[in-house]
Symmetry: C2
Subunit: 383 residues, 2 copies
């Protein structure tokens, strides 16, 4: 098996379209030039429609985690209180990042459990400068109630910092309508570009707050990005990862051509089709929901079927040319996860279900093949 | 003029070999896989010979500035004293980064002036946890005395943090022999890869110190890179910029094929040839030297000739298809800079000198063409 022939169905990095890969073969240019400024401006414009925002958007050369640190580190410091909501690994990471800069008030639910808004409200009542939320918790396959948290944050005058790393570009994210002060996305998820860039939107209120912060990280200080981004020829404060900008620009053109709304609908349909298939195969979804939460439309987390280790399903799929994900840390072996992100097609999802059926059949968990594919196809055809 | 046809002779980004560009067209892979681990391990091995070190080396997805912050932010915190040597823009940046984390003792020389070791010694005598130095000060074209600073740091028991962003891979850097505790390089300079990665070497002593630091940045915390890098399948703590790893690996293979020693000699010869040319054209070098400092062998900074603005030379060269650099900030208009980094050839340098002569002739500064090229050729032929 050639690694280059595998199908990536993990929650990022996702497959990158050949035209996006080809965009990276262009020679380097001066990053302090009108040419680079044009690329940067073009990326920011398309991202505005993805973020559904009029806020400024900046691109950092770094992973989504760098974007998360930019959000928190630019906004809070020693003496500030930050409410950090956690119901999965990335919520935990946000909490850990916040703890490097401020006093953290953790609101922790077991990974995969839904967020109880009452508890969040109680903590907000005690006062906090900011609140962090992972919108789409990749580690557990759960979509958290961003609109509701936004309302609460507004009511109690806390800045709302949202990790949209795996929702933006694949699911509905209304930065302005929900009142998200800082939203972050990674390039290698639903935007379907290679990893290495983070895009961050910043509200006016957040900018005003940042100006008062005295102790900030350097590379991820968003005020430096604002200063450089506001120039007549917008640029980045430090040398940008030029090929990744070429790639992101092309990936965003693909998004523009498809249309953000159509793209979100495709993600929803395909994830729903996957859920229909696994239900048919007698596999349970991992997250527990309440009325404010949903299954993720960009990554599905399933419980490992009785008697089969999640890692065994993952390695079995890899042998068959499809890369899916297992559980992370405490969820290792207990769950397996299938990404449905970026330019993923019905054919990709159906092929993944087909191989999953073969593996489950080999391990004696199901008797015959085709039921999952059939259930998924019904969902896709109806859409 | 097509931008893709220009010759980049600026101090980074530098032209990237077609085989390096092609390496980025490979599809994405899982970054938690044996395949990625192999690429990472290969990069680290070649980098060890570039750094001339047995220390651990890590790759961060971010610019050289991210690497500089990793070095400082992982090592010092509130209450610590850091001596920051400045004789150019990047020395100033190191000072600014250090000020975000600790108390800075600035040792400032005007940009382009040599470092006075006596003053450094005096400050070290007063005690400091660490000292920062920019080895090759790109903004001023001066090579600072790293070996001597290393000796002083050792004598006074300060950790030695060195920005080797524009020297490593192009000039002689002996990390172990000089006692550099943390050295940093950027991918887009003498390594001739695209921008977006920083490589950082860390001594045992630096690791031991880091373990005691309680307040550190998150994304650039080098202990996290050590933990992930020490795994049987080495990885990075956060999603790496995969295409840039493909590119760096290929760029490092080119370095291995040429040989580090031959590569350094080529940089020296070509920069010397450029200096011979400008001397012949009656243009002065910008930096002032003392017995411990040298003209940079990777970027040459020249005073703008009488009556001609440095920016005018830069824009004139751009019209002729060659991108050089002007002066930064307070040096704008006063100097112009020509990079001689990466896979640069004699043909590139001679072509640059030729166009520079044409511009100087057009502006009435020289009478006839060819003298600079001839002087440079003599140096190249002698090598």
């Amino acid at each position: 098996m050639d690694l280059e022939d595998t199908l990536l169905m993990m929650p990022g990095p996702v497959p990158v379209a050949p035209r996006v890969l080809r965009a990276m073969s262009k020679p380097m240019i001066n990053h302090r030039s009108a040419e680079f400024a044009g690329i940067y401006a073009d990326c920011r414009e398309v991202l505005s429609s993805v973020f559904q925002t009029k806020n400024d958007i900046f691109l950092l050369s770094g992973s989504g985690t760098a974007g998360m640190e930019a959000a928190v580190g630019s906004l809070v410091e020693n003496g500030d209180k930050v409410i950090a909501i956690e119901n999965g690994k990335f919520g935990e990471r946000f909490k850990d990042i916040a703890a490097r800069y401020a006093e953290v008030v953790p609101v922790v639910f077991e990974w995969g459990l839904p967020i109880d808004l009452e508890i969040v409200k109680e903590k907000l009542e005690e006062g906090a400068k900011a609140i962090t939320l992972v919108h789409n918790e990749t580690s557990a396959g759960i979509l958290n109630p961003a609109a509701e948290i936004g309302k609460l944050a507004k009511k109690y005058d806390a800045l709302f910092i949202m990790d949209g790393v795996t929702s933006l570009g694949g699911d509905d994210v209304k930065v302005d309508e929900w009142g998200v002060d800082i939203a972050v996305v990674g390039s290698q998820k639903c935007l379907a570009a290679p990893p290495g860039l983070a895009a961050v939107s910043v509200s006016e209120k957040a900018f005003e707050t940042m100006k008062e912060v005295t102790k900030k990280p350097y590379y991820t200080d968003l005020l430096a990005y604002k200063k450089s981004g506001d120039k007549p020829k917008p640029e980045t404060p430090y040398t940008p990862a030029i090929p990744l900008f070429y790639a992101l620009q092309e990936a965003l053109h693909i998004i523009k051509e498809e249309g953000v709304e159509a793209r979100i609908k495709r993600h929803k349909t395909l994830s729903e089709s996957l859920r229909a298939a696994v239900a048919e195969l007698n596999i349970e979804m991992f997250p527990q929901l309440n009325e404010y939460s949903h299954y993720s439309n960009t990554v599905s987390a399933m419980k490992a079927p009785a008697g089969i280790d999640g890692e065994n399903i993952k390695s079995g799929m890899k042998k068959r040319g499809i890369i899916i994900a297992g559980g992370q840390e405490r969820l290792k072996s207990k769950i397996f996860r299938i990404g449905c992100m970026g330019n993923v097609t019905a054919r990709d999802v159906l092929s993944t279900i087909q191989q999953l059926e073969i593996i489950l059949n080999e391990r004696g968990y199901i008797d015959n093949l085709g039921a999952g594919v059939e259930a998924a196809t019904r969902v896709i055809d109806r859409a």
